[in-house]
């Protein structure tokens, strides 16, 4: 049931997916498993982007899927299944990120984020690693806002809805995050950027 590389689950919201959802709503765990397999990669990636900790990301993504199973009978398809799932993942990841921020500021520990899909060129790898470091230095709220901004098709309204923040707050987070990233990007890349 795994999608081919490069195909987004939203785009594959086909009759097949609707059938799986209907079966899972009726309690069919095999159908639910197929949905998990279909969406696990991006759900896990979203949690990982916000949390930057592999173990926490897995736990949050698992919790989100368990929550989805619980709430699935009430899912009416007002948004796509993927969007609904990502909202649950993002909200949980953001809540967890806030808890971790306080804990980490005391413990000063950080886990390494696993490398994303290997870029073909060495230069790209270097840039990707630097960008990852820059994103890691953002506050949890800025990181969650930026991550969701790219996940939610650049809709500030959706990001605000998912994070439970006013739109102006999200805009401020995005503005500050972008300013910080631009400054760091210029510093890291210089004129080669």
């Amino acid at each position: 049931m795994t999608l081919p590389p490069g195909v987004r689950p939203e785009a594959a919201g086909t009759a097949d997916e609707r059938r799986l959802i209907a079966q899972a709503q009726a309690g069919d765990t095999a159908a639910f498993r197929a949905l998990v397999e279909r969406h696990q990669a991006r759900a896990h990636a979203l949690a990982l982007r916000i949390l930057r900790s592999a173990s926490d990301a897995e736990e949050v993504a698992q919790d989100a899927f368990v929550r989805v199973w619980t709430a699935l009978p009430g899912f009416r398809g007002e948004s796509t299944f993927a969007t609904w799932l990502y909202r649950i993942v993002a909200r949980r990841a953001f809540d967890r990120a806030q808890v971790l921020k306080n804990r980490r500021s005391r413990e000063r520990q950080d886990e390494q984020l696993p490398e994303p899909a290997t870029p073909e060129k060495r230069e790209d790898t270097l840039r990707a690693a630097k960008l990852q470091e820059m994103i890691a230095r953002l506050s949890p709220a800025q990181r969650a806002s930026v991550t969701l901004y790219y996940y939610e098709g650049r809709s500030v309204e959706e990001v605000a809805h998912v994070l439970g923040m006013p739109e102006n707050t999200v805009k401020t987070h995005l503005l500050r995050a972008r300013a910080a990233l631009r400054a760091a990007w210029t510093h890291e890349m210089g004129d080669e950027a």
Binding site: E37, H44, V66, W69, R96, Q132, R178, W185, D191
Partner: protein, 195 residues
């Protein structure tokens, strides 16, 4: 447009929708043209970063399904089921609505007696300072007990509207204490859960 305004536009991130004035400024200002090029390069890098999907941990789906099949979620799943009944049928049978209507009916029927009973209960409660006083004296908080009992005794002797006003004044304090206790408990739970 000056350079500061241009930088601000870049921070807003709408690189594809920059106004003509901004583009004209970038054409005439070398530093801003470089900033624009870097901002575009960052945007491309961010697009690539967020579209790449890291590998999912092996056995992830298995672990989710173990939790689902173990019944972690099954107990409350029925709560999410859409109702098969129309809203007007549900409202008529909603326990909360029935209870509220029954309470309202009883109040209309026996309201005066209830108010008299509530008043008597309040008067009985005004005797509480004496109990508190003797209890605090027994554990060695004499001065505090005196202060407290004087304050409460004067409230008890006051007319009902004054007592009601005091109760309204104290309610936010109690609510704040309850909220603080809740947040403290929440923090304990969250910390324990995060381990």
């Amino acid at each position: 447009m000056n350079c500061l305004e241009f930088e601000r536009l870049l921070d807003e991130g709408e690189l594809e929708r920059l106004p003509e004035a901004a583009l004209a400024h970038a054409r005439s200002c070398e530093a801003c043209a470089r900033s624009l090029a870097r901002a575009r390069s960052l945007e491309r890098a961010l697009e690539a970063h967020f579209s790449s999907v890291p590998e999912v941990p092996a056995g992830f789906a298995d672990r989710v399904m173990v939790r689902v099949e173990r019944g972690e979620a099954r107990g409350v799943r029925w709560l999410a089921l859409p109702s098969a009944l129309p809203w007007w049928t549900r409202v008529a049978f909603e326990p909360g609505v029935v209870l509220a209507l029954a309470t309202l009916a009883l109040f209309v029927w026996r309201g005066n007696r209830w108010l008299a009973g509530a008043h008597a209960a309040w008067n009985a409660l005004s005797a509480a300072p004496e109990w508190v006083h003797s209890g605090l004296l027994a554990v060695g908080f004499g001065p505090l007990a005196d202060l407290l009992s004087r304050a409460l005794a004067s409230v008890g002797a006051a007319p009902v509207p004054v007592q009601f006003g005091v109760a309204l004044g104290v309610a936010p304090l109690l609510a704040a204490i309850a909220w603080l206790a809740w947040r403290a408990g929440e923090r304990l739970v969250a910390t324990a859960g995060a381990r």
